[in-house]
Subunit: 320 residues, 2 copies
């Protein structure tokens, strides 16, 4: 049985799992990310972690897939820039292959999650999907015909940095009005706080007694109880997220849009509102293909399973 | 020498050209589009037009490419909906192949222009481009790795229907704030008229003495002469177009964005402003790939040459 190792490099920890070709996690482990140790130390730690999980000479071990934050060049196997690792121009694949001589593929963490969810997660019935992760920022990934689409020099797919409101809220990228500035958990929390300041009687003050305690659930949970200010916050959130999703739908016409990240913990409560919002607004005549809206399901393993999917998607492609 | 016929179906006329594999137009002709005659009459007219240009038994004649307005299913060879032809679910490729038994490929007219400009026009140095046509509406096409990307069921690539201003100007598609509602010639004319109504002293009243005479040049030509109101109209136009282009850049990271359609007649005057606007606003670190901005150059032949490119791009792909 064919298997590979999926590695999920984060600023805090490096996680690795042995994943079979159906996306099952057979074994996993992790180590602390030694950012201060520098690139060679981290790469050596990755090598040790992988070797603790597999026998590098087993013929069924077909490769190592790696998901990494930042700007990656997949074709070159390099990490061009990863701020939270303090990496610039790191030839990750080449250096790791000196430790373990197996096929190594790397990609951006959001891309990897997109591929994992489509090959092995909630999107496995579909060949064309968009993955949107709603966390501190808004990340995204595009799957076209079962393959990850990363854009030229693998620098595309920055779905969160699509402006949907010219001159709107300031985004971390320098522009104003990006989807990230409306649809990240950070933006949701900002809008929740603003609404609370304007509405001292809102139920949200019971759920989160101080502004510091506001989180991505505050507005959602209070909307469920009928709070008016919370309802306005959530409805605005759904509207902006829906508009972004409709944009991707008109550009890519995916079969499904998969929602991940912290805010997706709302599951069907959020998904149903998004479906309602998008239903009548898609461009085109009545016969145009519709898209499904799904909650990501791989959870904490998404990074590792998705990284493994990088290898399996190559293996599958070369067999066609 | 290999050649094919590119057909450009419009609501007014059907144009066809014999195009060689370098994109040269060797011969061309056209007929009036007999919309009232119905689909079979139009298809029969296309057949006659093609046969008047080529010998169907010549082995160098490798196929017929067709660009058609509306919603096309390229894989199926069908026109699912084309309002200005009054067509619904027309099996165009199949019916035409009964008249001329050669490979037939069809696609949407904006897609075809995108492919033509990238294979044979101003974008021929690039493999990854975005084409944006600024006319009555805003059309678009996406070329990924030298191939047309049409989206799932070939219903994607509707670049003009990306909302860049939530709750903004009404768009014909039903949503508000689409790029088309700010960047089409129609939108430019609307904004020019509004500015003239507010500024009775503007030079624009000299260029276009009545609001009915306003066209896509009014604001541009008066900006060139320093008119303040015209400058505001054009600067706003450039800003919205620039924001849309930056969105596509962050999603696809093309090597070049090609501007076509009526407004592109401004050439470098517009292109230079767009380059300036986009220069500092692209997402990512300093090493991220930049994109060039170019004016489409195939002009009136774009539809036919681009349609021919549909065939040549298939031929090239199958040779790889």
């Amino acid at each position: 049985m064919m298997y590979c190792v999926g590695v999920d490099i984060g600023g805090m920890s490096i996680k690795a799992a042995v994943v079979d070709n159906k996306g099952n996690v057979l074994k996993k482990d992790k180590v602390v990310t030694d950012v201060e140790g520098g690139e060679d130390k981290i790469i050596s730690d990755i090598g040790e972690l992988v070797l603790s999980l597999v026998d590098p000479n087993d013929r069924n071990f077909v490769g190592i897939g790696i998901g990494c934050p930042g700007a990656i060049n997949s074709a070159a196997g390099t990490v061009d820039q990863a701020y939270n690792l303090n990496w610039t121009d790191v030839p990750l694949a080449e250096k790791l292959s000196r430790i373990i001589n197996r096929p190594i593929k790397i990609s951006n963490d959001a891309n990897v999650a997109a591929l994992g969810e489509t090959m092995f997660g909630v999107g496995r019935m579909y060949s064309d999907t968009i993955f949107i992760t709603l966390g501190t920022g808004v990340g995204g990934g595009v799957i076209i015909n079962n393959k990850l689409y990363e854009g030229n020099e693998s620098k595309g797919g920055e779905l969160g940095h699509m402006v949907i409101q010219v001159d709107g809220e300031q985004c971390s990228c320098g522009r104003k009005g990006c989807m990230e500035a409306y649809c990240s958990a950070t933006a949701l929390i900002r809008d929740t706080r603003r609404a609370m300041e304007k509405n001292p009687d809102s139920l949200m003050w019971k759920f989160s007694p101080t502004l510091d305690e506001v989180n991505g659930k505050t507005a959602f949970e209070c909307r469920k109880k009928g709070d008016k200010a919370a309802t306005e916050v959530v409805d605005k959130y759904v509207k902006y997220l829906g508009e972004g999703m409709l944009n991707f739908a008109n550009i890519f016409r995916p079969q499904a849009i998969i929602i991940g990240g912290g805010v997706s913990a709302q599951k069907d409560y959020l998904i149903d509102m998004l479906k309602d919002y998008c239903k009548e607004r898609l461009y085109g005549f009545a016969g145009m293909p519709r898209f499904d809206v799904l909650t990501a399901q791989l959870g904490n393993d998404a990074g590792m399973v998705g990284a493994a999917a990088l290898i399996f998607s190559e293996v599958n492609a070369s067999r066609k």
